[in-house]
């Protein structure tokens, strides 16, 4: 499969690999996908008092496109507010990495991971 240079760079040198403390109040954790489907993404965000995403970490089990998509979104969400991060669309991810058509689902999964992480963060801060 022919992958773009940007995608290969994210795959070879993934950014922000790791884990944050999922029990911390400021941390939102999103885990999407299933082993049976070939990809599982775990995305975590660390949200500051001002509602800014200060840090993001990921771990991904999946193809090169899935790893690159999740690596990319950790870079994108950092420095954004939670609501700004919700505006990241899978099409932007697919375009940035020039994902081949059969790999579009990886960008959808990455978008879902952001939404899941934010939902988890918001749940912690409800009421």
């Amino acid at each position: 499969m022919a992958y773009s240079e940007k995608l290969l760079d994210h795959y070879e040198n993934p950014r922000n690999v790791g884990s944050l403390d999922k029990n911390s109040a400021g941390v939102g954790t999103g885990m999407v996908g299933a082993p049976a489907c070939g990809d599982v993404m775990k995305l975590q965000i660390q949200v500051g008092a001002n509602g800014m995403i200060e840090d993001a970490k990921f771990k991904t089990y999946g193809c090169g496109s899935a790893i690159a998509s999740s690596s990319l979104v950790t870079e994108w969400v950092k420095g954004k507010t939670v609501d700004e991060a919700l505006n990241i669309k899978n099409t932007q991810i697919a375009e940035e990495l020039a994902l081949p058509p059969v790999k579009i689902h990886c960008s959808i999964l990455a978008e879902d991971a952001i939404k899941a992480a934010i939902a988890d963060y918001k749940k912690k801060h409800e009421g």
């Binding site: 690999v17 999407v32 082993p35 489907c37 993404m41 991904t60 089990y61 193809c63 899935a66 059969v102």
Partner: protein, 402 residues
């Protein structure tokens, strides 16, 4: 070492230089049509074709008159399955095959279903081998054809062909065997085996692509309906001008295989076992398919909690297969591994290493080191590995399937 390292000998093999050398004159100088009866160009080509036929027959202990040239194992399988099913349809219209067969068997059987035949696709056991009792139970009074591969292309397991042959012969059922992955790897003696039709390919045995053969038993005689009509070549079973250079190449490749197979298999087995021992120094590594009933050159192995394609990308310095070459472009895990009943996540992370004539110990050691390093990196990236380290049973997790 020359990169990328080639460890995909079950996909195809390089043409042995001895084979290539023997082929060349038949392209440029002795270019005659073997069917030309009126001059020496034709006579020389015909002699070369017949010598090659004898070499192919010798490897499998058959009569040269039982060898029909085809374009490869796919065509041989098509001719055998469609040809026998159509010829014997008066006897019955039920075919038995196995779920882990190559597509070149499964698709012709599907085509026969479209033509009004019925088919049974046998399951395999966890080790990849068929259960003979289940096979016997699947036989019906109208079963006319059984097609079961000798050696599986993905996991390298050797099916009990001798036993299946006995059962088929006793019941008067035509038995076809796809031996594309077996020739030159396991001893094939068609005086002993009760096989009626057997498919071969040259390019899996250090011969050229585009040439294969179908063995068609003479005693007791098996008959086929031709699938290719024309000049009546190959006793009417497969018309088309014979490609002399390809045939000469296949003959030489099979001749070398007959002479060198035993020593070569021993050398290759030692390399394969070295590779396995190296991999087994890692955690959560599982071999797919039976290790005892298996060809010497195949190692199909699952690295748990690492996804297959990312692993293939990580090991781009070595040429290997994830699933079979024919399905690796799709997103589906291998249907062969699924048939073994392996967990899906294991199926996603399997790699087939196939070792061959030109593989060295140095290459094997490089591969072990590379895999250890890359698997470690991908597991550091894997949320599944992290969960397992934390003691989570992945089967109890509610996954958001997509």
């Amino acid at each position: 070492m020359k990169f990328p390292l080639y460890l995909d000998y079950s996909a195809t093999t390089p043409v042995d230089p001895r084979v290539a050398e023997k082929m060349i004159p038949w392209l440029t100088e002795q270019f005659g049509n073997p069917a030309s009866r009126s001059h020496s160009f034709g006579w020389d080509a015909e002699k070369a074709v017949e010598d090659a036929r004898a070499d192919v027959a010798a490897l499998i202990n058959a009569d040269p008159r039982e060898i029909i040239w085809t374009s490869g194992a796919t065509e041989s399988n098509n001719l055998a399955i469609k040809g026998a099913a159509q010829f014997y349809k008066g006897k019955g219209k039920h075919i038995i095959t196995v779920k882990t067969e190559h597509k070149a068997v499964l698709d012709p059987v599907r085509e026969m279903e479209r033509q009004g035949f019925e088919a049974t696709y046998l399951d395999v056991q966890e080790n990849g081998l068929i259960d003979l009792e289940a096979f016997k139970a699947a036989i019906r009074p109208d079963t006319s054809l059984v097609s079961i591969m000798f050696v599986n292309n993905e996991i390298g397991v050797i099916q009990p062909i001798a036993e299946i042959g006995e059962i088929c012969r006793e019941k008067g059922i035509v038995f076809h065997v796809d031996a594309a992955q077996a020739s030159g790897k396991v001893k094939i003696d068609l005086q002993e085996l009760k096989v009626d039709l057997m498919s071969f390919s040259a390019h899996k045995v250090y011969g050229p692509k585009g040439i294969g053969a179908l063995y068609v038993r003479r005693k007791p005689r098996v008959r086929l309906e031709a699938q290719m009509h024309g000049g009546g070549h190959e006793r009417g079973l497969r018309s088309g001008t014979l490609p002399t250079h390809q045939i000469v190449g296949m003959g030489e490749a099979f001749r070398i295989a007959r002479l060198e197979m035993e020593a070569e298999n021993e050398r290759i087995r030692a390399l394969r076992d070295r590779l396995l021992a190296g991999f087994e120094e890692m955690e959560a590594v599982y071999v797919n398919g039976d290790m005892e009933h298996r060809v010497a050159h195949n190692l199909n192995i699952s690295f748990a909690y690492v996804e297959g394609e990312s692993l293939i990308m990580a090991v781009k310095n070595i040429a290997v297969s994830s699933g079979s070459a024919c399905t690796s472009a799709s997103l589906e895990p291998s249907y062969v591994l699924r048939a073994l009943g392996r967990d899906d996540e294991l199926a996603h992370s399997s790699i087939r290493f196939t070792i061959g004539r030109f593989t060295t110990e140095e290459e094997v050691d490089y591969t072990i080191d590379l895999l250890k390093q890359r698997i470690g990196k991908l597991r550091d990236l894997s949320p599944l590995w992290e969960m397992v380290q934390e003691g989570v049973d992945l089967n109890t997790v509610q996954w958001a399937a997509h």
